[in-house]
Symmetry: D2
Subunit: 382 residues, 4 copies
């Protein structure tokens, strides 16, 4: 194994995403033959006991309780930012200035201004950077990208996506702190827009190009919730639901919706693209499948094809590395693929993406959506 | 059979809807035990040969080539209007003034002003009136209505519907005349908004109450098409696609879309309603099924239920009249049910609906949608 | 309409099938342009009041209470047999001897011996004859037939079918009389074998050719039920469930199952055919769909195609006669198609089939299946 | 981490299953908090270079090329047998005699006689033993087990399962050696019976109890294939397809089928259980879902529930250890769960199962199935 080049990871945060990324770092070398390989050098978190337990669990060699100390360490090559959105900017800029590579959780930032500053910092420092829009690396989604890029759909007319959840319907779900920071506007910046729609927008920009303008609406169904940090019932500052219409630059129409009040849906991210020659559909609840309609099929037997994206031989992205046809992989594998691509990029001296700059485009749409909802008017993406 | 009360029908038009309605009139008595029964007294159309063939096929006793002559006949109780939208108003008002009952195809009219005039005419004349928003009478849709009215979904958060087709993608589809009048703005008034979204809106208003305001966009993907009436390539005046966001009066959010450019979908009308306690989904391509999610189900085995709406014993609306559980009915049966309800209404001296006045509400939303798309602003439903 | 040639129908029986056939006779002329057209001349049943009500409902011109009297009438061209299985033979032979055409409900007979006698009678008399294996005329099933005959599946390896119901699980369902004669061995001959498997076998023989041998098992889960005719609890003589394995003459393997104890299935008739080049699947609960897998599809986007069998232009059998693409027909339409084909056969002087002789092949398999279950051994189809 | 008790693994074989098990050993500690933890002590295979590469990939500390040497090592606690079926017996007995725990791939053995000897060996030695029937630990399958054990289905009437593949249809697929030993009767013992049906049978016995008797048929569609070990075209000794009917001891009927000639299916293991009160369905192509029909549901909204088995809070077996609701796991996780249960068993001094003795029951059914197919008669399970 001496031929491998270590990528020394300093992980900040130890929540859901900290786990998902750590698992990806642990597994990637068993399945992907990159030269660079992650080494779990240090985990960082404010709670010393908790971060130690996390480090023990995943095999991080050391811990830190101050992210500045982590960034200052010479034995760290890359900083992985898995903390609430309001901390991304400061950490990322400090890490860039220290010459560290950065793998930052999505959304990039609280707003476009923060995101611009982050982009400038990494570009000035010339450090490799990536944002964890992991769904691009679900094999069925990558296959969709390949089909569109090959022109299999022809001219695109429609793009629609939604991300439906139902976990905050109960009024006694509190906001703020630990696992619930996503309900706290101060920590999250926005509600479903930054959390869920950001995923939909990233995929859409990747598959269908830039968005020109949007008209949006947001809603907060439960107006007050107990706040875990203050111990008091506080107004809810986030959007519980958000929907928008848009025009893409390629002339197609877009329809996006996200909510945490769609009873019956746990994490149903779906998209559908309709083109002149064909159409595609995907959803996260059955992420190993892609539906494809090919108008060129003989008319008598034309229908939506349900593709079980588990084949070998190069047909289905990433799947040669896993099991055998018919045996599905799951959610966590999207992170493994993203790490594998990141490492492969390092091997070739490239930035695998999505970069901070890519993620800034999503941030621009998110900001325009929130602005449109506030002003009740169409807003252009600058 | 002497105990039956005849409802003497005068049918105007002999296209797709003329067939669908005639079939309903022929079948209803075999399956529903109303006192009133339709009698196919006369069919009317401008082309004498064509209307005679139509009359022969369905058993109409006579024909007319001038709708005014039909309305003038004493042996006609009810006028069925199955002609392009631009003729609805004049015929309906004349029929009302002649004291005829009216069964009018949807959408009610070219715009709200026309619709208002039509409502005033039928109300002034005191004639029974109905608009053929037939999807209300698909058993699964009626079941959805019943479940919502029973409070099974609780507070409603979201309503989304779309109606997706793909039959006008080819640029060499002409516009105007005969079967293609729906592509001609002069005859249809609008494109998918009046043709398809009107169905979605009617169902939505019925299931979820009034809409307060909308923001919309429309698009015409193919800008010019050969016009069958002029023989020249003419600008296309209709909307090929239309989408809108809205607020319902009950505080829920709506998302609607319709297009004839969604490759792979023939006539995919779908709706989904998300409430605090449960959710419902339906689609026209499998119209005999209703999906239902009940949050009260035990958590370990909670999931969307796929209800095959073919049971007897009163469980599934209208189905006692048909075959046995498991054996599906189809599209045409929605018209049979609408006729059965209309006749039942006559038996009881009631107007079964949807009435002209009900349909005017849909027209108001359609007009606001088109206005919003034109002005790029939110528009209130007056 | 004077150019039409009347086919004067004498209907015997007025149950579920009597309704389904009558509906088909009433509708066929509105949708299919055959020269011969059914005329509902007389309905026959032992209960005078009931048969009169039935005749009134469907427009039969007269009634009889003795089927021999019906057969004796000169104004009747064709006898439709819709009575329990134990009466088929006697009526059919008498009708044949009277020179009447015969449309007989399935299964053909109580056993092969009866069926042989019936075949001989109709062939000796030279009368047109047909058995109501209506599922052949579901458009998706006819399409399956066409695809197989075109060689689209290549060499066939597997055929599997089942017909699952759940309506007799409750022990208090009685047997015998009226709607429940199917649970009475004296009237039905067998249970699910003749009622449900017979459908599966007919389709299989039609699609995949003859069966060589079978091994079967049957079960009667509820051993005693109240008998409606005797008023006493009596042993149940029918098979509640039946399954068998078989070899087809073409070398493919078959697997068949039927039961009325499959909780959750109302009338789920499904079949799947696997060939070297492709596969097909269909089920009765969504009868307007056919699933098709084409191995020749490009590997990256190969998947089961879900074909919504509602297209025009000759692509989808029978569908040109109905509505527009995307709008489904239902169960009853299979009977309309069967009548249309029967009439078209008369126009051309052909026997449209399935004939008594075709249905006898199914009877042979049914008998072998029951024999195999009884003897616990493989049985050849003679 | 010092509190963990090491379980020193000696792995024999490095094919598909060697990878799947190794991955499970690597991951289990990150997600499950057992005291015992696997330590990858040694990997063993005849090809020195290949086994070294395998060991490097997964982090095995050492390698062996002779399994007897591996078994002789004092630093090995447990032997994992991942070699072709014809080697199971000898290795297992030797390992047992050396006092090693054994984790053996399925099927247990070439036949019942071998399996008996293996059971006796492990029982005599008193060593913990397990067979890798991994599908028991798919959360949806475990949930099915729980529901059945709670009596949610009531009396069982029907059990049906099949395992459909299509990867050997091409006649130029060779047999024998490396990845293709499953097509070589000398190495595999049987074809789909031991490879695929064994899984179906194991699950069935677990969910529905013992099988009493069977009638079966087998087929070898391609009679000769190039043999990789001899370099010649040789007769094919395995069964390409196998189907059987059976009676379970509880009175329910079983229907099983497996084939590698079902075009369009990659690894479609499905089962369905029908009981008096409800039914269950599962399939491996969407292994994270369970379908459940509850007859106790209110009749108007009764339907198959599609349960996305990804919830926390104890509702869905194993899922608390993974991500969040809605985010699916995949095939490999079944092995992680099996290791976790094995380790948990060690913690508590129990044998988690399925044990050799459990697996012998499956072997008895397999043998009876093959015997029945050969003799064309019903065979009892001894």
């Amino acid at each position: 194994m001496s031929e491998h080049k270590p990528l020394n990871i300093g992980m900040i945060g130890y929540g859901f995403m900290g786990r998902a990324h750590s698992n990806a770092y642990c597994k990637v070398g068993n399945f992907f033959k990159t030269k660079h390989r992650p080494v779990l050098r240090a985990a960082c978190g404010r709670n010393e006991e908790a971060v130690q337990a996390f480090a023990d669990n995943w095999g991080y060699e050391s811990t830190e309780t101050d992210w500045r100390a982590l960034i200052a360490r010479d034995d760290i090559d890359a900083i992985d930012i898995c903390v609430p959105n309001n901390l991304h900017k400061e950490i990322a800029i400090a890490a860039a200035e220290a010459g560290k590579m950065i793998l930052c959780e999505k959304p990039l930032s609280m707003d476009v201004a923060e995101g611009e500053a982050m982009c400038e910092a990494v570009e000035k420092a010339g450090v490799t950077n990536m944002v964890w829009y992991n769904y691009r690396r679900v094999p069925a989604v990558t296959l969709a990208k390949n089909l569109i890029d090959e022109g299999r759909l022809g001219r695109i007319f429609h793009y629609r996506a939604n991300f439906l959840q139902d976990w905050t319907i109960a009024e006694d779900v509190p906001q703020g702190g630990a696992a619930l920071w996503r309900l706290d506007a101060a920590a999250a910046g926005s509600g479903v827009t930054g959390d869920l729609l950001a995923h939909c927008i990233d995929t859409a920009l990747w598959l269908n190009g830039s968005i020109h303008d949007v008209t949006a609406m947001t809603e907060t169904f439960v107006k007050e919730r107990m706040h875990n940090l203050t111990g008091k019932v506080e107004p809810v500052g986030i959007d519980d639901a958000c929907a928008f219409l848009c025009h893409f630059e390629n002339g197609s129409l877009g329809l996006f919706e996200s909510t945490r009040y769609a009873r019956g849906h746990k994490a149903l991210y779906t998209f559908e693209v309709n083109g002149e020659k064909g159409s595609l559909r995907w959803d996260l609840h059955d992420l190993h499948r892609l539906e494809f309609f090919d108008h060129a099929d003989e008319s008598a037997v034309r229908g939506w094809r349900n593709v079980h994206v588990t084949d070998h031989g190069g047909d289905h992205p990433y799947m040669d590395h896993w099991w055998v046809p018919g045996l599905q992989i799951g959610y966590e594998h999207s992170f493994v693929h993203q790490v594998a691509d990141f490492l492969g990029g390092l091997d070739r001296g490239e930035n695998a993406g999505p970069t901070f700059r890519d993620a800034l485009e999503t941030q621009k749409v998110c900001d325009a959506v929130l602005e449109s909802a506030k002003t009740k008017s169409w807003c252009n993406i600058s």
